[in-house]
């Protein structure tokens, strides 16, 4: 890895946002290809962060500051990536279903996906089926993530899938579901494309669905 990329890589791991921003700019000025800055320095660092997290060398707060630093670098890089024709990792619309106000798990999944390079559109909590439908139409994501923590709101996942059908956008997206009462079996029953029990597995699932 080029020295400048290595600096960015280390700064992402350390969660040093200003340093990552400066580092990305410096790498671009020095003529490093934007594709390499993205994959080697930014995504590469987040992969290392993920591994440290799995080993419990890193905890959630450290992972999140790293993800934030990585996102800051990505923001600078983005316009140039489009110009260079480098494809984005993917876009996901995520939200907690209607009637449900639990947002910690959903937000964590969102942050981890951002850390993995996804563009995340977070619709918040208590999101009605129509709103998910609209968001799919406007943002054209590859993925939709639904979260439910209550037995009484789980069924709204099904209603959301139906709304996507009704709007004719169901086949344009893969839908993943999660939350305490949700199981693999339930996900299959309602016709979702995947289920993950926690945030890091949600990222693996998202990648596998693309």
């Amino acid at each position: 890895m080029h020295e400048l990329l290595k600096t960015v890589y280390d700064d992402v791991i350390n969660g040093d946002r200003p340093a990552v921003e400066a580092g990305v700019r410096a790498a671009m000025e020095a003529g490093q290809p934007v594709g390499s800055i993205l994959s080697e320095a930014l995504i590469g660092a987040m992969k290392e962060v993920g591994e440290r997290f799995e080993r419990q060398d890193f905890y959630v707060p450290e992972m999140l500051v790293a993800a934030r630093a990585m996102q800051a670098g990505l923001t600078i890089l983005k316009p140039h990536l489009v110009q260079a024709g480098v494809p984005a990792a993917g876009k996901v619309v995520i939200g907690t279903v209607k009637g449900d106000l639990h947002d910690i798990g959903k937000s964590l999944v969102g942050m981890m996906m951002e850390g993995a390079g996804f563009e995340v559109i977070d619709l918040g909590t208590d999101v009605g089926p129509e709103k998910f439908g609209e968001a799919v139409r406007t943002h054209k994501p590859q993925l939709v993530g639904l979260s439910a923590l209550l037995t009484t709101t789980m069924q709204n996942m099904k209603a959301t899938l139906e709304a996507l059908e009704d709007l004719g956008v169901r086949d344009q997206v893969k839908v993943m579901v999660g939350g305490a009462p949700v199981t693999d079996v339930f996900a299959k029953e309602i016709g979702a494309d995947g289920y993950a029990p926690d945030a890091s597995r949600a990222v693996t699932l998202a990648k596998s669905l693309l």
């Binding site: 419990q56 106000l101 209550l150 037995t151 009462p181 926690d198 945030a199």
Partner: protein, 486 residues
């Protein structure tokens, strides 16, 4: 004048926060309520609070509470109130100095010990676990253990209460979904008690409600609180901020925030109806930084329970929180240690109500064998709290003199007449010699509890046909009102 024993029982055996610390938490909570305020997403609540001098930023639905208003309102909450059993005969007096134990609320899954499979919970399962909890001698009242997946979401609260009154004679800790839900709960209670007046005189259940941390009251919970206060129901308001996620990662910061949320909600309730009984509840907990999940089994959770008990004593209100909670899943040493740690801290610090019996996996899964084990744990804690009696008889100088050096106490009258009250008797713990234990299959406590469970059968007398019909009429009527598209 209270007797010696009463004073002794009211004195906590474990203290953590000094009177100055408590005062500081109180004044800092008042500052949070005044300067930061609560976001309350319920228009009526904003009206009520503005009417009493709170500064309301309507655009942000943010209420800034004047400290005097809070202090005066909290002082209106009664120091004691009672819940009564289904037949009205047994009274549970909730106040400082008493200690009670209950199940936890609203599980998502049920572990079936017979098949070893964890699955969703249906109405018939809720009826079954309710019966099981009723049969536990150490469980003082029943917290509705699950949200049945085969009942409609909108009226699930009515089903929960209807199933509970049919399957337990103990007082009930339940919730309601909005003002309509409160009125239906009152109708169900009225059917059981025979009249609205009888329900007022002998409350059968409470409303278990939460704040939306950090520093919010959502529309439904606030609406339910307001209607509950109007109906004169006892209300348990339970902030459950998670240190590091929905509250500061420092324990003190989380305690202040929870205290602020709770005082704000109590203020609202007292302004609707002064004298509404409230239970000072907190499910303060922390985030497991390794997984991003919630943890409710560690030493921080126990420290939070002590703080809840102490702040409730500061306001002289009955208190509640998780006591028998564990992160573990199996009926193993981890779950036993987590539960004992939490419930000991809670009870010794004087938390009025420790909840959690029968639950493992945070507060997600009911494990029926664990309910039997928890029953045993509670029984031990009760004996511990009873302490050591010091009086002429118990100091036993006469017998000591009588038996003398080298004698034996076993056959003494003093022993025969005192051993039952002095010593604790296990129902489930093993005290057999190794060889006997081994010959009987070398079973651990989980196995023994599971076997007991197999031999157990429900015995709660059904409601009379008329009452049963009246209760379910309320449920059906509520269902009828819900317009269901598709």
């Amino acid at each position: 004048m209270p007797g010696v024993l009463e004073v002794w029982l009211a004195t906590p055996l474990l203290t953590l926060l000094s009177p100055d610390d408590q005062k500081r938490i109180h004044t800092d909570s008042l500052r949070v309520l005044e300067e930061v305020g609560l976001q309350i997403l319920e228009p009526q609540a904003l009206e009520i609070l503005t009417g009493h001098g709170a500064r309301v930023d309507r655009a942000r639905q943010r209420v800034h509470f004047p400290p005097d208003l809070v202090t005066a309102s909290v002082a209106r909450a009664p120091h004691a109130f009672s819940l009564f059993s289904r037949d009205g005969a047994r009274e549970i007096r909730l106040r400082q100095g008493e200690v009670y134990f209950t199940t936890n609320g609203y599980a998502v899954h049920l572990y079936d010990p017979a098949s070893g499979v964890r699955r969703g919970i249906q109405q018939k399962d809720l009826a079954w676990v309710t019966q099981l909890a009723d049969s536990m001698d150490q469980i003082d009242f029943y917290s509705v253990m699950a949200t049945p997946a085969d009942a409609p979401p909108e009226t699930n609260d009515r089903y929960q209460l209807a199933i509970s009154v049919a399957n337990t004679t103990k007082p009930i800790w339940n919730t309601a979904y909005g003002p309509e839900g409160v009125r239906d709960a009152v109708a169900i209670g009225t059917a059981v008690r025979g009249s609205r007046q009888a329900l007022r005189e002998k409350p059968l259940f409470t409303l278990d409600l939460t704040t939306l941390s950090p520093l919010q009251l959502d529309e439904r919970q606030a609406g339910t609180m307001i209607e509950g206060a109007r109906q004169g129901l006892p209300i348990g308001i339970s902030p459950g901020p998670i240190a590091g996620a929905t509250a500061p990662v420092t324990l003190a910061g989380t305690i202040v925030q929870a205290n602020a949320e709770l005082l704000g909600a109590i203020t609202l309730v007292q302004l609707v109806q002064a004298g509404t009984p409230v239970v000072f509840t907190q499910y303060t907990r922390s985030l497991d930084m390794a997984s991003g999940g919630v943890t409710m089994g560690g030493p921080e959770f126990a420290l939070f329970r002590i703080a809840t008990a102490e702040m409730a004593r500061f306001y002289d209100l009955p208190s509640r929180g998780g006591g028998l909670i564990a992160d573990g899943k199996a009926c193993d040493a981890q779950v036993g240690a987590e539960k004992m740690l939490n419930v000991l801290a809670a009870s010794l610090a004087g938390l009025t109500i420790s909840a959690g019996a029968g639950f493992v996996d945070f507060i997600n899964t009911i494990r029926p064998e664990q309910l039997l084990i928890d029953n045993e744990i509670i029984s031990q804690v009760r004996r511990l709290r009873r302490g050591i009696t010091l009086d002429g008889g118990s100091l036993a100088l006469d017998v000591i003199a009588q038996v003398g050096p080298g004698g034996n106490y076993l056959a003494q009258d003093h022993t025969a007449s005192n051993f039952r009250s002095e010593l604790w008797f296990p129902k489930l713990w093993d005290r057999k010699p190794w060889s006997v234990w081994e010959a009987e299959g070398g079973k651990d406590v989980a196995r023994r509890a599971a076997e007991r469970l197999q031999a157990w059968s429900p015995k709660v007398p059904p409601l009379t046909e008329d009452v049963e019909r009246a209760v379910w009429d309320v449920v059906r009527e509520a269902d009828g009102k819900v317009a269901r598209p598709r």
